[in-house]
Symmetry: C2
Subunit: 209 residues, 2 copies
DNA sequence: ATTAACTTGTGAATAATTTCACAAAGTCCG
DNA sequence: CGGACTTTGTGAAATTATTCACAAGTTAAT
């Protein structure tokens, strides 16, 4: 096993492998090689093996990896062998789409509370989930053991919401607002920033002509 | 100027600087230092300067960068000094949120066509935009000079849609389906993969206890 | 005019990550 | 069994990206 620090990027690829394995398992496949695992995502087999080697020796020379065994191990490593409770703040267009998306809970990420600060939204219900006032965040985070927060409010309110989340004990913030947030150490942050993706496109598109 | 290849990551940071500059300009600020520019995004000033140096010398020693001038130059570099036409495929929950989001067109990315393959959706209208059959994609891409495509269909149909897009002449595909796509060389791809973000969280969360 | 304080731009050093190369082990088949 | 083929795991090398260190230009105050 490789005891060096695990590259940040390796963890993200582990998610890709895990998803791939779930598909293979559903198809009844028993064995898979590092080449097959990386193929559809264009990840070289040697990268796949390096990534896995950070966590152990899961394969068998000559035949590859057991789909079932490796899937199990990866889910364990990624911490998705259990459910995680998620708070959504911002009951707008995006929040609604995220809330009603069944993919999350299927993966074990359950949006167990929704918050907003607009009087027009608070106390309305979405499929039986009451939209709570942002003031109730702290209490609810503790009560429902919420560790992940999703920020789906306009940029102007995003930092404030993230601050509240971290103060309430949320340890990981997924931010959709087009704004970089500051979070205290001990709190993780990830940004889904469509402007960056699109501008990355336009940069390269501009160079084509 | 630095003629070495521009790191992929530098381009993404350029977007962050450009957004920051837009804010500063709106606030009436005239000058900004590399330190200020990176600060809110926790990017070291030396990284900011390196990133900018790939494209020229925009600053003035002692006083920093002109907000207006640098903003202009970055928008030019990023290709956002013009509008880009975007096709959205998948008129579901997510597609609807994306379509109705005013932030895109404000940034110059205009969703000028929406496609779906469900008879229940095709020929319905969203705010005056007719949802077209996916069969019309190729024609419309040519007619409306569309260079960017957004995939917002279930994973099962995502590859097929991406294939259509690339065949139709779309050069950049932004994929929201939880599935890695294969695109031909000459076509760019970016993935917004919430499962990866969340599983990245759960990996680190699991290690906390 | 001099000094102190800033700030940029950039080569060099460092760090992080990916790719290569290959030994060792397992499989398959006649 | 023996030989051809497959596949893993892993140091070493190569590549890519970040950070350091500092010369050189700029500003501002007295
Ligand atoms: N809709 C999209 O497709 C899309 C795409 C990319 C990014 N985003 C970003 O996601 C965020 C949400 O977008 P949206 O389209 O859902 O916006 P929206 O305006 O539809 O909804 C925002 C919601 O947040 C609530 N809110 C505002 N400030 C709040 C606060 N301080 N505390 C609690 N609630 C607050 C509002 O009441 C509203 O219900 C925005 O930052 C937007 O830029 C959205
Ligand atoms: N909704 C979310 O918040 C969310 C979050 C993360 C990821 N996603 C992903 O985004 C994608 C869309 O999600 P959604 O919630 O909007 O799903 P949805 O089921 O609401 O909508 C999907 C739409 O795509 C259409 N469609 C299906 N196959 C098609 C094809 N081959 N060609 C054209 N149109 C086709 C369907 O008719 C439907 O209108 C999915 O891949 C989903 O996993 C969604």
């Amino acid at each position: 096993m490789n005891f060096k620090k695990v590259p940040l990027t390796a963890i993200r690829r582990l998610s890709i492998y895990a998803r791939m394995l779930a598909g293979l398992e559903a198809d009844g496949k028993q064995q898979v090689s590092s080449r097959d695992l990386g193929e559809t995502a264009s990840i070289p087999s040697t990268q796949v093996r390096k990534d896995l080697a950070y966590f152990g020796q899961f394969g068998k020379r000559g035949s590859g990896y057991s789909v079932k065994e490796l899937g199990f191990r990866l889910r364990k490593i990624l911490g998705i062998d259990r459910a995680w409770n998620v708070a959504l703040v911002g009951a707008g267009n995006l929040g609604r789409a995220l809330f009603s998306y069944p993919g999350f809970s299927k993966q074990g990420f359950r949006i167990v509370a929704v918050f907003d600060n607009s009087p027009g939204k608070v106390n309305k219900s979405w499929k039986g989930t009451r939209i709570q006032s942002i003031k109730e965040l702290s209490k609810t985070v503790r009560e429902k053991n919420i560790s992940i927060g999703i920020v789906a409010v306009p940029a102007s309110g995003a930092q404030e919401v993230a601050d509240e989340m971290c103060k309430a004990g949320i340890k990981a913030v997924l931010n959709f607002a087009p704004k970089r947030l500051k979070v205290p150490t001990g709190c993780m942050q990830a940004n889904v920033d469509l402007a960056i993706e699109l501008e990355n496109f336009s940069y390269y598109l501009s160079k084509l002509r």
